[in-house]
Symmetry: none
Subunit: 200 residues, 4 copies
DNA sequence: TGATAACCGAGACGGTACGTCCTGTCTTCCT
DNA sequence: AGGAAGACAGGACGTACCGTCTCGGTTATCA
């Protein structure tokens, strides 16, 4: 059965996402309201409710657009494994300084308060990002160790690698410094080599 | 000049803290309202506002009462350094399953959304806990290495030690398993020994 | 530019006015609250505040709807001037026994306490009623005296006519009796005839 | 049974009455609160509640002190009856311009809203004032008519005399002008002479 | 000359209503 | 059908006073 009438307006979608982003930066999460977004975007409230369930849903949308690329693992074949790993951690550090990182931070915060947010965030963005992190780590270690590392171990290594960075940001609200990046990198590599000794 | 008139009622204070604690567990942070707390505690709203600025302020108070002891470093002289360290991490893991841990989790979440909360939490509980963590780690390593470790290094070691645990809880909402405790413990001890080699 | 969106609901308006009227009679002015009206009318508080500034504003609205007719001057051509005048005063007396009269009484009371109420009441209902009273009196006297009476005199006659009635109600809270109606009527007619003697 | 301890402090009583009076003038009846009076008088709230039941009770107290004298009937033997009567009405007019008159006006207003206030005001001040008015009128008419007027008629004459003045003040909030005083005076004297014709 | 009872200041407390803000649903009209 | 405008029921907010109460400190009278 065919349908009639105009389709979803892309300009409305973008206006809402940008308004939400701007207001989050300007007034913080608590000052972010559906009514405020509607007004700023020059859009009716009902239009927002038609396409998104809540302000969290809007933010998840902005995250999907912005964060994926910033946290992608990139390999520089010319550089060593340690440099590549450290570079990825630096990307994480930079991400948290950027607007998209603030969005993730807010969503992670909200996820502690609302299980719906937690479920949506974990089933979507965080799950995908976890997969990218594990895959990126696997590839890098494979180059270093010349053998595959099992997934279980990879998971723990990822926790050890990223945990201290998120801890800094989420718990202390402090920027991630170079020294933390370096020591974390070295530590994880050490453990990886121990756990999966190169076949002589 | 001495105060006259009735003093602050301790029973009111406790009724409010317990009501807040209970409601947080029952209904979550979003379902926690000043009016709800007042009703549950059998207290007038104004009485709450007289002593606390917000529901966050109340939770900070419950945390101060409950969390300090649960996260205290305890040394078992009979056991080795590694066992002591692992036991402390297990205490952290258990804490996050307990009601007081839920309070901290909610507050950490809210701290991502409101800078006031962040400032209060960091200036109060987190600062003290950080000091306890660093001091506990210092004492433990001193026993192991038979020499003092400088504060800067201790700070990084604390990040590496606790980061992965908080990451698990805050980002993935998953319980901290034994394996993570063990690998984190070993890793940090390895790094500590490398960084501060025992004088021969 | 034409308006879009839903219009003001007439049923809501009436529900509020009736609820206010009922509650004023049941519980008196002090027991009349916006929250009470909202609850009785099955309406949200905000809906009331959207259209009225205060409970006084609501009562002014009920007055406009109810009192105009009750205090209208009516001429019975068959009857004499004195009978017509007395009939009008009896209408005033009856009005103060009816619910709408209670509303006016309450508003007059409140007008002594709040200058805003006084200004609104006087600029609205009282001004119109005064005009009706003066006009009614003018017509009646014209019939009796066969000549026009000047406005200044009419004003004073209206004061002398209505003053004693309001005095009874407002100051002594007592009902207006037939004797007061009669003596006031006679008195005013006497004075009117003196002041504007029939041209011989 | 005898009692011990300090007696009621007169300075406290006066401080409260003055504070109430001042605040009534400054902020109006709605802005007059027990807490405000207590603060302004430098007195504890409980002290007020010990001696007065409500703010209305306080105002009744100030009225008793101030109004009695202002509304007292005074006879100037040298002047005629009409002049004496007009002088009394002028006293009423002046009274409503003075602070004590404002208090009575506020209390009369409140009496329309709360039956307790109405009862207290009518059983106290208004009853006494009514008696003074009737007695004053009786004396004056006795001089004029050279015979006594019965109480029933006197009551109606008092209504006709004072009603228009109160009507002006309470309903229109306008000052009582000389013309109203004069016509009311003449009118009432006319009626009195008609009703009780001098024995020839 | 104490004891003791009332007065008084300060202000905590359980309440009620205030007026505001935002939510999510809905209705109306326009394109 | 999509969208702007915005009315509506509802719920929580933080504030202002109410009237009651508990504290200490301070008189004044009477034993």
């Amino acid at each position: 059965m065919s349908r009639t009438g105009p389709r979803r307006s892309e300009s409305v979608r973008l206006a809402v996402l940008h308004a939400a982003d701007d207001l989050l930066v300007e007034r913080g999460f608590a000052g972010l309201t559906i009514e405020g977004i509607a007004q700023r975007a020059g859009v009716a409230k009902q239009t927002i409710y038609r396409w998104w369930k809540s302000k969290v849903d809007i933010l998840l949308d902005t995250l999907a657009d912005d964060a994926r690329e910033a946290l992608q693992w990139r390999t520089d074949e010319a550089a060593g494994v340690e440099e590549n790993l450290a570079a990825q951690l630096r990307r994480v550090a930079d991400f948290f300084e950027a607007p998209a990182g603030r969005v993730l931070q807010a969503l992670l915060g909200h996820a502690q308060l609302e299980s719906d947010t937690a479920a949506a965030l974990r089933a979507g963005f965080l799950k995908e990002q976890r997969e990218r992190d594990v895959a990126g780590l696997r590839d890098l270690l494979a180059r270093d160790l010349e053998r595959a590392v099992d997934d279980r171990t990879l998971g723990h290594l990822a926790d050890l690698l990223l945990g201290p960075l998120y801890y800094r940001v989420l718990v202390f609200g402090a920027p991630i410094d170079e020294e933390l990046v370096d020591s974390t990198t070295r530590l994880v590599l050490t453990l990886a080599r121990e756990a999966s000794p190169k076949v002589p």
